[in-house]
Symmetry: C2
Subunit: 443 residues, 2 copies
């Protein structure tokens, strides 16, 4: 990660601030302006990558040469950029927690140039990973009693995205991932069976199944739909007869009417005495498909592409807004994009209570928990990187807290977020003073 992993305007502004000595503390707030269609909540994710990025921020000499030559930045600017590190403070909602529109996911307080420069990367990590964790959570809600595993690697937006998707899905309770690099990095179960090509590379399906059972007796899930699904199941039954142990036998359905094929396959397997054989289903699944399949005798779903790209909502309407500079609250008034000033805190109450959006300086409320926690100070993390399981535990707890109305997959009602009187007062008074200065002049 390097200083050039940002938008050009961040570098221009950073250079300008540095030239002018505008290095007072600035607070930026990162939040979703609104939820995508059919979303009743978001699942916070992406913080770990943000902290890695901030801790590693610097310009190397090749990058500085580029900025000098291509962007005509003078030597003084380059010298200042060469020294730049992230020395600020970060408050954030821990990964796995449920949040709503308008609630800060992350707030940075740092000398203005540093806080500005990191906008692009922080927005990117939080937006993408929160969108995917939220999509994965919806899949969980659609199939609460069936194991889900991540099969998305082949159609995410790059392999770095495959890594982040495996992690975000795990935060939302997925039981494993097919993407081996991520399984290794995050200590997740790696899962996977065989592809159609395996079956096709043998003289016939039976030979392929026998070979696979011989090679991987501990995990013999047979892909049965290469030629004819039910015929494939019958071949599995034959092959299983010769196995010393059928405890690990399963089948995977990957095309056709999955619900009907699961029923008919289950019947064939049960009649053959393979009552313990698992049925795995995959192929174009998302939360809507999972709801439709919820009554089918399926033991595990491989959920791929549509989860991994959050197909119906591949981005969130997030913003990283300056809310305070050098001790003064600030806000913008662009049409439809008004942002509230000041560093903030979210106070969460019991189930059924609205969240309170407060200034960070306001005191803690009784029976309410502050969502944002300090995670970095003086550019240093306040704790070691946490395992994915910690974020997953938070998600499970928040999912239990979330009201049914917000959990609904269609037309949900998000939990209300109410600004405190102090925040409302500050917003209004700043709005009036800015309107007096700018609007009157233009009308």
């Amino acid at each position: 990660m390097t200083g050039l992993c940002t938008d050009l305007y961040e570098i221009r502004m950073t250079a300008s601030y540095l030239r002018r000595g505008m290095t007072g503390p600035a607070t930026f707030s990162l939040f979703a302006r609104k939820l995508p269609p059919n979303r009743g909540f978001l699942v916070a994710a992406g913080l770990a990558d943000c902290l890695d990025f901030l801790a590693g921020l610097r310009f190397n000499s090749g990058e500085l040469d580029y900025l000098g030559a291509q962007l005509h930045l003078p030597e003084d600017d380059l010298a200042a950029l060469a020294k730049l590190r992230f020395t600020g403070e970060v408050w954030a909602v821990p990964e796995g927690r449920v949040v709503f529109a308008g609630e800060p996911l992350l707030e940075v307080t740092a000398p203005l140039p540093e806080a500005q420069l990191v906008e692009t990367a922080l927005l990117n990590f939080v937006t993408f990973q929160t969108a995917v964790a939220t999509k994965a959570a919806r899949c969980r809600l659609a199939a609460p009693h069936t194991a889900l595993v991540d099969f998305a690697a082949r159609r995410t937006h790059g392999l770095e995205a495959s890594r982040a998707v495996a992690r975000a899905a795990a935060i939302a309770g997925f039981a494993g991932t097919s993407y081996v690099a991520a399984a290794r990095e995050f200590g997740l179960p790696a899962v996977g069976t065989m592809a159609h090509s395996y079956v096709e590379a043998f003289p016939d399906e039976r030979a392929a199944f026998r070979a696979f059972a011989e090679d991987f007796p501990e995990a013999v899930v047979f892909l049965v739909d290469t030629y004819d699904t039910l015929q494939g199941v019958r071949t599995v039954i034959e092959v299983a007869r010769d196995l010393p142990d059928t405890a690990a036998v399963g089948i995977r359905l990957d095309s056709g009417d999955l619900a009907e094929l699961a029923v008919r396959s289950r019947r064939l397997l049960d009649e053959a005495g393979l009552t313990g054989a698992r049925i795995v289903a995959s192929g174009g699944l998302d939360e809507q498909q999972l709801v439709r399949l919820s009554k089918a005798p399926i033991d595990m779903f491989g959920v791929g592409t549509r989860m991994g790209v959050s197909a119906d909502a591949p981005y969130l309407d997030t913003a990283y807004k300056l809310v305070e500079y050098d001790g003064h609250p600030v806000m913008k008034m662009s049409a439809g994009k008004l942002s509230a000033p000041g560093a903030k805190q979210v106070h969460r109450g019991d189930p059924g209570q609205p969240d309170l959006l407060a200034l960070r300086t306001e005191t803690r409320r009784e029976r309410r928990e502050p969502l944002l926690q300090p995670v970095m100070r003086g550019g240093a993390r306040l704790g070691p990187p946490e395992p994915v399981s910690a974020a997953r535990r938070r998600f499970e707890r928040d999912l239990a807290w979330l009201p049914e109305s917000a959990r609904r997959l269609v037309d949900p009602a998000p939990v209300e977020v109410i600004p405190t009187p102090l925040l409302t007062q500050l917003t209004e008074s700043l709005r009036h003073s800015l309107a007096a200065r700018y609007h009157h002049a233009s009308r």
Copy 2:
């Protein structure tokens, strides 16, 4: 890039093939089964990353330890994987070319274990980058006479995705990118102005504009919508009066009714004698918005999120299918997913002619150009990596070739792809022999 950047089942199958000496040549064909809604064509992209991946493929010792410990692969498997490199041949449609459903974007011929192992990564790169290049091409069609630049970095799916998006957009004719790391790597113009936070960090808008003009006289595009857009334009006019040279002056509109604001801003600028001042527009743009804005006096569009995630079609229904193994054509018959056997070639004719989908062994047709080219042999590239400009030239040429009916943004009619008699005959005869073997038994 490493051997673990793949799905677990690829590693299982690879290990199984190696154990069994199933190392005969296999050909896999990568293609889109169908086009997403409202797509009349695809723009091929992702090949450069595929070749890098193939050239770098290997398992390091830490990865082999992981596979041994976690997946219980025995020593012999690990030794075989340690030696594995990609030694095969790749034919591909060069980046920037226009393709249609069913046409191979890429074909790999290699010993079966190698060709299998790389499936996940090749599908990922080609699917994602082709989807985004196609989306960017649609933006070009929507605004053929206005410069477009990529502003997507903050909301793509990771920073690696930001890099790939900048490149894919450039292939489709975007004039620059805000993402500096990609601008540097690919030699693209880096573009960018100022953010709202810059304006807010100064005592007032006028002070911010003056400071910016002083610091970047060569590129003074002022963001005018922080408080009140037209008031912002008037402030630009005032500030510009004091500039020694107004040739580089411009404004950026980022919210509100962009068409109306552009008209009113243009009038104000012209009245003030700033007839050369450029108007840049950004904020939630995609091809539909660009069509709506096509009559507005806007000189450049910053196109961000919706292009960078290909918002209405964030993935393609791609497949990487075994079509030949050890000299024998193969195919699968899964419901709705029939794949045609054999290594292929696409023969393209004059405008208005359908494409011919042929076996690669068929002879070249008169007045037709073969789309797939050999790009790697014996695991080595057949040429140096090419500049983005080469792909962009191909795109411009193919765009001129593409019939109006396929260019339409809504309900387009893709160019027809007709299989040759030889391909049809091979497909039918294989289908019959497989059906005889598998379907009869199950009915």
